[in-house]
Amino acid sequence: MIKNISNLGDAALYCDFGTEVNKEINRNVINYFNNLRDSNFLGITNITPSYNKLVISFDLKLTSFAKLKKQVENLELKKNNNSKNNLIKIPVCCAEEFALDIKRLQKLLKINEAKIYETFFSKNYYCYMTGFIAGMPFLGDMDKSLFAKRLETPRVKVPKNSIGITEQFCNIYTFESPGGWNIIGKTPVDIFDNKKNTEPNLINPGDTISFYPISKLEYEKKYE
């Protein structure tokens, strides 16, 4: 449940669900997000779920912090609103030219390459949130043996569709972007399709992701 609602400036609510990062808290955030999307409260312009916060932006011409706060506090939650919890399978090619940081990780984690990939591919990952850049999913949790710090100097350009890991999380760079996560492979699947006018995101908060390895040949086939 929401522990506290404060104002983020004069045109947004900052809903605090706690300080920890875990699925239980995040499911709560997403449940509120889904219920608010269905609520049609006047003036809401954006709702941004994250690990343990929910930011609700609104049009100050149409409503105010006090009004909207009351509405959110009195919101009757429909349970099991997370109906669209999909399992999505994402192919990953781990060829040397795509796995930009695998050598660094072997040294850092003191585990060999094969073991790193075996561990990575053996788990399902939960999507806590999407964003920063369009469609980028923040997935977790990684196996503890793969917890690695970000690069000390972030890359200016991480190639589009790269799979990155850091600490307890992994993600997919939906666009070429600056970034500091450890890159272990690349998927031929476009996670954000800017040609699609409805639901351009393949992965949404609350979804479960399983990665599976493919060869360079399969990668090239899928790309065609």
Binding site: S6, N7, L8, G9, D10, A11, A12, Y14, D16, T19, V21, F33, I44, T45, N46, I47, T48, P49, S50, Y51, N52, K53, L54, V55, S57, L60, K61, S64, F65, M129, T130, G131, F132, I133, A134, G135, M136, F138, T174, F175, S177, F192, N194, N197, P200, N201, N204, P205
Partner: protein, 319 residues
């Protein structure tokens, strides 16, 4: 056949530094990482469309610093430029000077040269008609990062054409006298991580000046000034951002997030610029100095009401 119907168009002779199509912005997609975008200076956007007798959310060309140079081919059309902008029209080798905030008739073969924004950043070009542009998720606003919106998500490019439609047959003659005022004191409301910073850091945040650096664009304004030292943690678990939010980076420098900002961020938020100061904030060019002033939510709401009344009053005075 369809090609011949597009007989009115601009040819881009020079694209300018950052010229994009914008409208009122894209609502309700922060959760998938798509920012609001839209015209940076909303008041000047509204004035441009109102002077053109257009629907209020009609696309405009937004430009920064140096605008585009456009050759016009077609029947007579009204145009207007808003902001603090220096521009001219070249007609049969003659340079004609005009003012912002008034409709001008553009003739076949005229060349519109938008030279510069004066001591400001953004200006707007509106036409009595509609730029023929693509829409994505209910808005034409160009987001060059996600490559979405008008012009395939790209800035204007040299040599491209911009097709026009719905050109008004009766050319509006609207104008208004308006002077863009400047601000140096940015009013902010305390952010959720205010207590991450030492008392000395907070004191200098509100009493010292910050320089607007060249690393400023539609995504954000990077400031340099006294280092704002963090006493808790230089990172937070990533969470939602909004327009105008001020994050303090691990280096202790403030970044103000603007209309094309990343939707989530992991730096502590010291404050948020009030809505009423946003249009003026975005117009502060690099090299300027700014100061922050704290106000409370109630005052911010009242100031916004007044700002909105002022905008509506301006709109109703356009004749």
């Amino acid at each position: 056949m369809k090609k011949n119907m597009n007989k009115n168009y601009f040819e881009v002779l020079r694209p300018g530094i950052n010229s994009t199509f914008q409208d009122n912005g894209r609502n309700n997609f922060y959760h998938i990482g798509i920012p609001f975008s839209g015209a940076m200076d909303n008041r000047n956007f509204l004035l441009a469309n109102t002077i053109s007798n257009n629907e209020i959310n009609n696309p405009v060309v937004e430009f920064a610093y140096q605008g585009p140079k456009l050759k016009y081919i077609g029947e007579n059309i009204s145009i207007n430029v808003t902001g603090d902008v220096n521009f001219k029209i070249i007609r049969k080798n003659k340079n004609l000077e005009f003012s912002c905030y008034e409709n001008i008739i553009l003739e076949n073969n005229d060349c519109l040269d938008i030279l510069s924004t004066n001591r400001s950043v953004y200006g707007y070009l509106s036409i009595g008609g509609t730029f023929e542009v693509d829409y994505y998720l209910n808005s034409c606003s160009t987001n060059t990062k996600a490559k979405i919106g008008a012009n395939s998500g790209e800035k204007l490019k040299k040599g491209q054409t911009i097709h026009l439609k719905n050109i008004k047959k009766i050319l509006p003659k609207n104008k208004i006298e308006y002077l863009n005022s400047k601000i140096e004191n940015i009013r902010i409301i305390k952010g959720p991580h205010f207590d991450y910073f030492s008392k000395d850091a907070i004191d200098s945040f509100f009493s010292d000046e910050f320089n607007v650096t060249k690393l400023s664009d539609r995504m954000g304004i990077r400031l340099k000034g006294p280092k704002i030292s963090n006493i808790k943690n230089t990172n937070i678990k990533s969470e939602g951002l909004v327009k105008g939010v001020i994050q303090i980076t691990a280096d202790g420098d403030p970044i103000i997030m603007l209309s094309d900002h990343g939707t989530i961020g992991g730096y502590p938020k010291i404050g948020v610029v009030i809505s009423a100061d946003y249009d003026k904030l975005v117009q502060i060019p690099p090299g300027s100095k700014i100061k922050f002033k704290e106000i409370n939510l109630k005052d911010a709401e009242t100031i916004f009401k007044l700002y909105e009344m002022e905008t509506q009053n301006l709109i109703s005075n356009i004749k």
